[in-house]
Subunit: 220 residues, 2 copies
Amino acid sequence: KIAKIYLVLFPMHLNHIFNSFLVCPATEKHVKKYLHQEVFLVEESGEDYRNLTLPYISSQSFSVQWVHNILEKKAEADRIVFEDPDPDTGFVLFQLQDLYLIAIVHRRDVKSLRDLTSEHLPLLTNIRSKGEDAIQRQYGIPPRKLCMYLHYQPSYYHLHVHFTSLEFDAPGCRVERAHLLSDVIQNLQADSSYYRNCSLAFPLRADDGLLLRFKEAGKL
Amino acid sequence: KIAKIYLVLFPMHLNHIFNSFLVCPATEKHVKKYLHQEVFLVEESGEDYRNLTLPYISSQSFSVQWVHNILEKKAEADRIVFEDPDPDTGFVLFQLQDLYLIAIVHRRDVKSLRDLTSEHLPLLTNIRSKGEDAIQRQYGIPPRKLCMYLHYQPSYYHLHVHFTSLEFDAPGCRVERAHLLSDVIQNLQADSSYYRNCSLAFPLRADDGLLLRFKEAGKL
């Protein structure tokens, strides 16, 4: 295990690896493994999510302990740029790079975009407005120069929103993985179960366990 | 004017300029001009489109003669990979780079994503299925490794769909400009006027005439 290499698992963007940020420790072996993987675009219906993806996520019990540590200030508290402590609509704004932040919600019952309904609109609009304000104050970047989006599939199943400068060529802002916060809000305003029912396309590496589930079910 | 430099106008991706492809001739001055522009994210409601964007597009009368030349085989016919000649649902599949193609529709009455309604579903699903087939035959790339999307704002106001390999780090596939074809089809199936009414976010350079219109209207 080499001293401290951190690898971000954006399957599409390993040519941006020099841009990648700190999420989880990785060995040289990991780095190599992720460099040479084929990628497939999966289309997941709402039913596929319930029958394939949700059981897979649950069976893996991916740890989000490191997220809880951030929320509880047990780790990397110096990277917290802003906090709204409200248990329902609050979040921590966490700096990954100069122009790359994430809003991590305090609620622990929202795994991803798929769980969002109109019930979560106050949470999402709060993240948008207070996140924009905090970034303008802290970095002088006006809202019109910000890109705010969610990933699906996310790297970890605890709801978070990405904030990057429009002028920053962020990894992971590609259309097949990113969903603009403004679109998410708009779609939920029109239809509370939009993300429960819609088909969502996302890329998976050839060695991803979830891809195997889709293959076994004849969905690829 | 230098011999034949071609520049693609993806404001977000000038660090990808080495990847750019042939659309319209550019001088060295153009290249420099586009290298140093601030970029802003505009949110355009359906009303903004009708009041600001559509009059602007019309007043500029951007030429799409070069597109018509391709459709009529008067130019670059050797780059046509496939054609469906149907006047309503047909298109030309045109190769820009090895792993980057565009489907240009034969219809001349659809400017962009904003004009699409459920009336255009046969066109869009035809582009998807015949485009996928042609690319599989010609390049051996299966549909699951393809990314198909539309731009809004597009570079030119004649409907076209982008086809890239998932593994190709294409310029212009960023979430704030690209709309997955599968999402467009799905949204139109649920609501024929989805793209007439929704708000669409897109990036504009500081020197874009359209940005000035939004500024003058107090929308920025």
